[in-house]
Symmetry: D2
Subunit: 292 residues, 4 copies
């Protein structure tokens, strides 16, 4: 006889299945090994479903599933944040035998060494995500995501200011407003394939007017500003160019690969933000361009 | 000939349709009239789609569409936050003739006078949402949402502590841990029908162990704590009870009505949160209970 | 004999006076009357001190003090957010007879109708603060604060880009990077004097390269961008110009008047922000300029 | 002749000294070595003052000063986050020869392995701060800070509920409300002395009703809840007990050592928070207790 009642396992009547039960706001350092070993400090969200015949989900098992992966012998396999998510959903399903579905989401700051316009070394901050979802008996679906912050220069104000000052041409580069721009790409990772976050970050940065750098000495700053103004883009252009680069750079992914791209621009001439978004599969995107 | 080039209307080649282009983080006070007149200060998100043959969406028209509704003669019709959203999507489609889809989301703090356990008047804060989505030629779908913060007491720890101290029974009320709990309900509003945010807030509060109050004198505080401990609930219970109350209190809504219910509990014995969620239609929920 | 023990009034031994005990994150709508009547939804922080001979502060009295002011007959006197703060500290000291000090801080979104560069009406968002601090037997010190968001254009990059492209002059306006800039001014309000938040907002906006507007049609956008680029400023310039405007526009305030000015710029070429700050009294500032 | 103008070094007339000019929101991983090597991802704020005869502060030098420390040969000396801050202010003053004052603030998540009530290993999250301030020619002042999240149980409601249910005693433990509580301690580090963040975290946790743990199996959860309810505390008690523990545990620090202690409690029966605070020097605190 158990001394302490297992209330979660009680059998309620007349009640409902729940889609997702679990933990949010779990923060904990992990190590991943992709070429080099890096320490990430992700925020975790982990969920399983709950059948109608069971009162509660044993939430302490969610922490145990997470610790199994983070501490366990399996750590050697964690090549990236999406693998950590995948290992966690496997453990969630093992530790919650009543569950039919499990999900894990990890979001973390991520740093890359970059070269600024004159080649000076600088350390840049990005955000990466790893997501895994699994239904019992089916394969796990993994996603990776990145957010890169860069600069976008408005193509419309550049032409208007050209006209206002009586400039003979309205071609770039010229005076305009420019903004911090966050580009987010989330993509499903095809089976037996890896997609590198570094590659997605490259694509996100390349889709804006220019990347940005923490360290820019005088001439480097001028070069970056000029580069950005030679390449003016709306948020709409940013999303479309990111989609085009994804199609071009990830030729090998199957048509069923899902992707979403978002650009949010913190307008300097307004107090609000501009936003653009496109979602779909590589198959749909490949077909769309060939038909419009 | 125009003096200032309309860059947004340029016709790019080989590019993509965008699902949503628009503004986020627009904040602006509005007045709504539902019985009484109240001032809300919503944060707005407004979007339209963008066809492949057009470079940009005229984002200043989004502000004009919003101002049409907020300032215009139409204000008299704005019975609630979801009506404001509906009026905005109509104006978005008028002002963006190239768009086939429009969406508006408003989120605002909302206040109700409540009576605490001894009937003392207190002013309580909630969050409400109004959402509208429209495809050209189809009816607008409206949603309203509420988030209410209350208290939930853990049913499991109550039994464990009872056992630890050798209490003869493990029935409520007894010592346990308790937490701030946010319950969110989002529901599609059926055509020609109103669903009141106040009613949804009542349901959200009734689904927790107890509501909470800004003003509680000594005895009132004790009464509330006792009431909450007589009614211990997991986040799982909170979501299921909210679903049951919705089914019971909104008998008149059709089976196609969509609803999602979430409970997030800011655990006092952990640094993370507990979370539960259920999504679906009233038809699915009505059928589920009759069959499991 | 009281039925419910007053634990707060217990007399601990060997313990400490506390500087501030009270409530944070109280949110509640209020009405203020300065010319017109407006609804604000401030977040309140209210504190009193606590003597060593008393275990606790009666925190429900903080809510009562706040409600006295918000609901009470005194509302007619609340000309501005700093008056609400002042009335609250009076009530805090009345309701906490053991306290020797009281403090109230209110922070709220605030909206003004503005004219954009071509005179079109637009509604702009600011943040205002009202603060009051009182020691028993002394006069209350009131503060008001404002935060305005505008645009600042970098003067240094403008010259560097001029040199990079071989422009003959490096005078404004020319290509540069520009950013969202938040200017905050907090000032002690002299006795028997009012300082209007609208005047401080005007000063904050005038100290940047240009104000910003939610609504800008094509030509208006170009005019604003041009205006900002004709007036490039570092965060350092913004703070110094705000100080100069304060000295010029508030000639009537006594030397003892305290002020602090901050400018934070969300750099578009970096992921970090630039920041500048100056604090002191009008007397110090008046003397500083005449001596350096 | 320089090709690119040094605008920051221009000499404005009739202008003001600025107290602090620099960068906020710089995020970058660092390694510190205190016994073990750990990776931290702090958010940095770095400032110098600016004399009236100089237009701007060379902000790229702030990043260089930071990189000198993070990347440089000096890394071996960085025993803790406050040493990193100290090294940065030295480099700030070297790189800004016109500056008379420098300041650096670092804030980072920090993790410790803990044993829960039955000795099970769990990883807990805290926040730590390192601050350094230096005026030219004077010694650097270093500060360290910690924030620990635990649980506090209300002593007053426990007695009221005891009375409401006719309990014979009102002694702990009994039903009450309990909350997440954040305790923050910031202390100046005396010259030639180290104060360990781990020790401050122990003190912060010991001052609450109980620490909290990410992993608690059934009995462990009951034990923790019981422990917390045996030890009810107001936020006022938490701050006073933290001060007492500081005085007791840090006997060796001189009277001039500055300390501030704050407790913020996310009330479960209210939507607002309770707050208490005490600031002063060890000398003042030591004297206060001996005289009241």
């Amino acid at each position: 006889m158990e001394k302490f009642k297992d209330v979660q396992s009680e059998n309620p009547v007349n009640t409902y299945r729940l889609d997702r039960v679990g933990l949010t706001n779990v923060v904990r350092p992990i190590k991943v090994h992709r070429g080099k070993t890096i320490t990430l400090v992700p925020t975790f969200r982990v969920f399983v479903d709950l059948p109608p015949y069971r009162k509660g989900s044993d939430l302490s098992r969610d922490i145990e599933a997470l610790e199994d992966v983070v501490e366990g012998e399996v750590e050697g396999r964690t090549k990236g944040i999406e693998y950590v998510a995948e290992l966690i959903v496997d453990r969630l399903l093992e530790r919650h035998p009543y569950a039919d579905y499990a999900e894990a989401q990890l979001t973390a700051d991520y740093f890359l060494e970059r070269k600024n316009p004159k080649g000076r070394k600088t350390t840049e901050k990005y955000v990466i995500q790893g997501i895994a979802k699994k239904k019992n008996g089916l394969k796990t679906t993994r996603y990776i995501g990145v957010t890169a912050t860069g600069i976008s220069v408005c193509p419309s104000a550049m032409k208007t200011v050209s006209a206002l000052v009586g400039r003979e041409t309205d071609a770039p580069p010229f005076i305009s407003h420019n903004q911090r721009n966050d580009v987010t790409i989330i993509i499903s990772v095809p089976e037996n394939m890896d997609i590198e976050v570094d590659k997605l970050i490259d694509i996100a940065e390349a889709s804006m007017s220019a990347p940005t750098y923490e360290l820019l000495k005088r001439e480097e700053e001028g070069m970056l500003v000029l580069q950005a103004h030679q390449n003016p883009k709306f948020v709409e252009d940013v999303v479309r160019d990111a989609v085009k680069l994804l199609i071009k750079e990830l030729r090998e992914v199957p048509d069923s690969t899902y992707v979403e791209v978002r650009s949010e621009s913190y307008e300097t001439i307004h107090k609000h933000n501009a936003y653009a978004e496109k979602k779909g599969t590589f198959g749909e995107f490949r077909k769309e361009l060939s038909t419009n």
